[in-house]
Amino acid sequence: MAAFVWLTIMTALRILGRNRLRAGLTMLGIVIGVAAVIAMVSIGEGAKRAVQAQIATMGTNVIIIFPGVTSASGVRGSQGSAVTLTVSDALELRKRIPLLTDTGWSRRDVMQIVYGNKNWNGPINGISPSYLTIRDWSFTSGGPFTQTDLDSAARVALLGQTIVENLFEPGEEPVGAVIRIKSVPFRVIGVLAPKGQSSQGSDQDDVIFIPFSTAERKVFGTSFIGSVGAMFGSTDQVEDLPQAVEQIREVLRARHRLQTEQNDDFTIRTQVDIGKVQEGTSETLTMMLFAIASVSLLVGGIGIMNILLVSVTERTREIGVRMAVGAKRHHIMMQFLIEAMTLSLVGGVLGIALGIAGAKLTTVIAGWPTIISADVIVVAFFFSLVVGLFFGLYPANKAARLNPIEALRYE
């Protein structure tokens, strides 16, 4: 049997070799289909990885809680417009929910920052020191402020890369410099490592962090002491996030004295939720790729079937001879199936090579990140095999069912 299969493969290769142009054109459908899929999936994977990296810049297992919206005579304000979340909420959450490893809070406002003869309008974030650990901010120089700075409302600031680029000369050391925010002088004690774009596309490095208490008392001029723009929490394990969210909701609803029929006056989001939106996007992309792949493999398969039907007709007499000397139906069947699979497999392999080349070229020319995964190559290979098998079945069966007498007489 092994000898039979081996010789049949050799015969199939020789027959295909005789009609190189025809075999090549037949394979083209599969080649293009597989190449398109490999290239697109590689580009898609690259994009997905980039998005995942962006989401990871949020921090690890982060939960974000926004205040609800104001509602005056039915007209609702924008999200976060209500002052429903306070510092004491955040402290209470940390006390009551052991799942939360830490909680932090922030409030932001866009203000003018001046250094020397340069100025910049950037978002000033008043934060608790824990915010920096939750969001995984690290430093290129200097370091974070402490609880003492918060308690004493110290005038210290941490600068994002974008701020540094806009206020300082290249090579100038910002740490130790004094900047002014709304004419209040602040000493720069740290420069943050860059995070790049957020998953929403905003520049995360265009930011200044100052102690929350300083912001509240000396910069923003808040009328409602203790109200925060957002609260942050984090858990040890990503699996703990849903439970933590439930517990946060319970605690906050109780503290805000909400009745059962009342809606939450806050919104809770987790990193997982945000990731899911992105996953949804890439799922759509995957479905589209699948559709493209199906269509091109279908077209390629039909091409193979077509050429095999021609081949069966051309070689009717040969089939008759083979039957006369003792070929059984499965022998004839195998011969044509192996020819079909050889066509589709060679097409598949060429397609894989072309697809990888295409993906690499995209990286070089357009600069898009591409990731060539072994999975997609295996799947493409397997699919081209299946296409050959499926579309070879009908012609092979047709050949195997020929009547030997009529086949021998065929002109």
């Binding site: 000898a3 010789l7 006369a324 059984k328």
Partner: protein, 241 residues
């Protein structure tokens, strides 16, 4: 020992549209091991139908055909293929070699379907080519061989499985007289020296003259059946053994 071929009241009826064609009408025939038989008849006489049935390419509509004691009627197509592979060698008028395939590989073909190892296939096919005088032409393609040589490759292909029956359907129909004589000489020698049973279908009298027995078919029945040479088949069998 049973005869090689036993036909009893064999009928073959085709339905062509609304017309029923009786190609064979109650034909009975016995052929012993080692015989050299010529079957003659005009076109439409039913000799091709008879050949197809004897060669296990077709089955009788009615009646009984036994080859080496095996009832062929009622066998499935794959079983027929197995019998053809084991017992029968075919030589056709138009050679029917597989194009763009070497003489050796053409001669290997029946062994290929028998599932022999490639090495055995090659050795046996080369030996068969040697027997028909084509030693040294194993790698030639059909287009590189003359008509007579192509027919010899076909004979080698028929011989390679050591069949009990060699069926030659107008083997000289496409050959010039010189090649015809060579081919008939080979067939005659195979019958005489190796005791291979040969059934030859022809409409040429001088070709039929090589055979020891001449059967004439007309309208699906045997018109005449006579021995033209004293050729005791039984002694041939013993020689073969």
């Amino acid at each position: 020992m049973s005869p090689l071929i036993e036909c009893e009241d064999v009928w073959k009826i085709y339905q062509v549209g609304d017309v029923e064609v009786q190609a064979l009408r109650g034909l009975s025939l016995t052929i012993e091991q080692g015989e050299f038989v010529a079957i003659m008849g005009s076109s439409g006489s039913g000799k091709s139908t008879l050949m197809n049935i004897l060669g296990c390419l077709d089955q009788p509509t009615k009646g009984c055909y036994r080859l080496n004691g095996i009832e062929v009627g009622g066998l499935r197509p794959d079983e027929l293929a197995g019998i053809r592979n084991q017992q029968i060698g075919f030589v056709f008028q138009s050679f029917n070699l597989i194009p763009r395939t070497s003489a050796l590989e053409n001669a290997q073909l029946p062994l290929f379907y028998r599932g022999l190892s490639l090495k055995d296939q090659r050795t046996q096919a080369a030996a068969a080519l040697g027997r028909v005088g084509l030693h040294g032409r194993e790698d030639h393609y059909p287009t590189q061989l003359s008509g007579g040589q192509q027919q010899r490759v076909a004979i080698a292909r028929a011989l390679v499985t050591s069949p009990s029956l060699l069926l030659a359907d107008e083997p000289t129909g496409n050959l010039d007289s010189q090649s015809s004589r060579e081919i008939m000489g080979i067939l005659e020698a195979l019958n005489r020296d190796e005791g291979i049973t040969i059934i030859l279908v022809t409409h040429e009298v001088d070709v039929a003259a090589y055979a020891a027995r001449e059967i004439v078919i007309q309208d699906g029945q045997i018109l005449s059946d006579r021995r033209t040479k004293a050729h005791p088949p039984s002694s041939q069998v013993e020689v073969e053994i």
